[in-house]
């Protein structure tokens, strides 16, 4: 059973996942850009996998291409679940 999609739940999963891609935990905020965090398209493919696993929300390549900040990613997941 997938976890209920709330902004708080998604934020927690995303914030928890980013350090494994090398992002410094102290730099991770909703406003931080993936570029600043040195999180690239391969990392986002992994993040998409984690999100789908956790929330059952699938992110397509086009979606991922548009997001710039951590907040964008969280909002996208929440909107897709709605």
């Amino acid at each position: 059973m997938a976890t209920a999609v709330t902004p708080e739940a998604v934020e927690k999963v995303v914030f928890d996942a980013l350090p494994q891609f090398g992002a410094d935990p102290s730099d991770i905020t909703r406003e931080a850009t993936f570029e600043d965090l040195d999180v690239d398209s391969l990392d986002l493919a992994e993040l998409s996998q984690i999100i789908e696993d956790e929330f059952g929300v699938q992110l397509k390549g086009d979606d991922v291409g548009k997001i710039k900040t951590v907040g964008d990613a969280i909002d996208l997941v929440v909107s897709r679940a709605g």
């Binding site: 090398g22 391969l42 996998q49 696993d53």
Partner: protein
């Protein structure tokens, strides 16, 4: 006239430790990197050299190549700005198998957790050219870049191809070598099924008791440059690649021809390429796998090519100290050969005690000794032969 190719940097990760000099010093001191029947690069800790992200983004075979490349470029004085335009520097890194650890791990994930759990990094990490791609990216090398994939000859083919790129003018310098990290259960089982691995777990090339090779892992990287430009920039030239010869057996997928087959042609081509005679060779770094078939066929091939001179020079096998590094072997052994030549040392074939009839060359049993070159140039032959019948031979000269 062909452009001369200089060697200006060396790097290695091997079962004897991290570093080209570590490999050279420990081998010539008679130390073995083989434990429990395997040559693991157990002193290698990736996070000592790479960031957490770099480690995640690289299969173990690529990690070895990255670390060896850092060492080689450092020695070449290439830290910071490169001495050539980026598009004039190539990068060829060979491998026998590529990221087999990544492959088997993800296959297990597929079977146990399903297709959706397979990592998006699986392909970019396992592909055989991942090492070449990663080294090229790390150092901003934008000339020709690819992997050679010719089993246990890959690490010599990569150097040979790199020499040709420089000679032909496609590149002014090439960062080249070979890498392998195949100490995984599938590779062990598969080589064992072929009856290629030593049951005793002992690598003792040319000894009558030899019973197969011992698997090892590691990498070596060399910086090759157009010698004229290397001299012009005041580089410290360690040596030269004088000749390269490659051939195929077209005979059997895994076995050499008894009389030496295509290996003879590769050695002759290398001599012709260098414009050298058999008498010019002062040392042979043999492929010497410790398999019954290779060591007999290779001995025969060396005798056929070098004639009586074969009996007058040392012939030894690095695999006696580190095992068989498969696609890395040709490069690691080229590095070990050049450093031995520079120090005028004939490195030993460790564990060689009981000769076999017909295997009567000077294999430098057990212990290194001074390499007598009697005023000659310090030129050695380094052999690499691979499953598939691929043969690659390099002639190296110490500066």
């Amino acid at each position: 006239m062909k452009r001369e190719v200089a060697i200006t940097g060396l790097g290695a990760v091997s079962p004897l430790g991290v570093g080209a000099r570590t490999l050279h010093e420990r081998w010539t001191a008679g130390q073995s990197g083989i434990q429990d029947g395997e040559g693991a690069a157990s002193e290698f800790e990736p996070t000592e050299f790479l960031t957490k992200k770099e480690v995640r983004r690289a299969d173990r075979f690529t990690q070895f190549a990255l670390v060896a490349s850092d060492e080689a470029l450092r020695e070449a004085g290439w830290e910071g700005e490169k001495p050539y335009p980026a598009e004039r520097i190539g990068c060829i890194i060979g491998t026998g198998i590529g990221g087999i650890g990544t492959l088997t791990h993800n296959h297990q994930v597929l079977l146990e957790e399903g297709a959706k759990k397979v990592s998006p990094l699986a392909i970019p990490l396992m592909m055989g050219n991942a090492g070449a791609g990663a080294v090229s990216m790390r150092h901003g090398l934008r000339g020709p870049s690819y992997a050679t994939l010719s089993a246990c000859a890959a690490g010599a083919h990569s150097i040979g191809d790199s020499v040709r790129l420089i000679e032909h003018g496609d590149a002014d310098a090439v960062v080249t070598g070979g890498s392998e990290a195949a100490l995984v259960p599938l590779a062990r089982a598969a080589f064992a099924a072929l009856d290629a691995l030593s049951d005793t777990g002992i690598s003792r090339p040319f000894d009558v008791r030899r019973d197969g090779f011992v698997m090892g892992e590691g990498a070596a990287v060399l910086v090759l440059e157009d010698a004229e430009q290397a001299r012009a920039r005041g580089a410290n030239i360690l040596g030269y690649v004088r000749g390269y010869g490659a051939s195929s057996d077209a005979y059997h997928l895994t076995a050499p021809e008894k009389d030496g087959g295509g290996a003879i042609e590769a050695m002759r081509s290398a001599l012709a390429d260098a414009g050298l005679q058999p008498e010019d060779i002062v040392y042979v770094n043999a492929h010497g796998t410790s398999t019954p078939l290779n060591d007999r066929a290779e001995t025969q091939a060396i005798k056929t090519v070098l004639g009586d001179h074969a009996h007058e020079i040392p012939v030894s096998s690095t695999k006696s100290a580190i095992g068989h590094l498969l696609g890395a072997a040709g490069s690691v052994e080229a590095v070990a050969t050049l450093l031995a030549l520079r120090d005028r040392i004939a490195p030993p074939t460790l564990g060689h005690e009981e000769p076999e009839e017909g295997l009567d060359l000077d294999y430098v049993p057990g212990k290194a000794r001074p390499l007598e070159i009697d005023g000659k140039r310090a030129i050695a032959m380094s052999n690499a032969f691979g499953f598939g019948g691929h043969n690659a031979v390099l002639l190296l000269e110490a500066a």
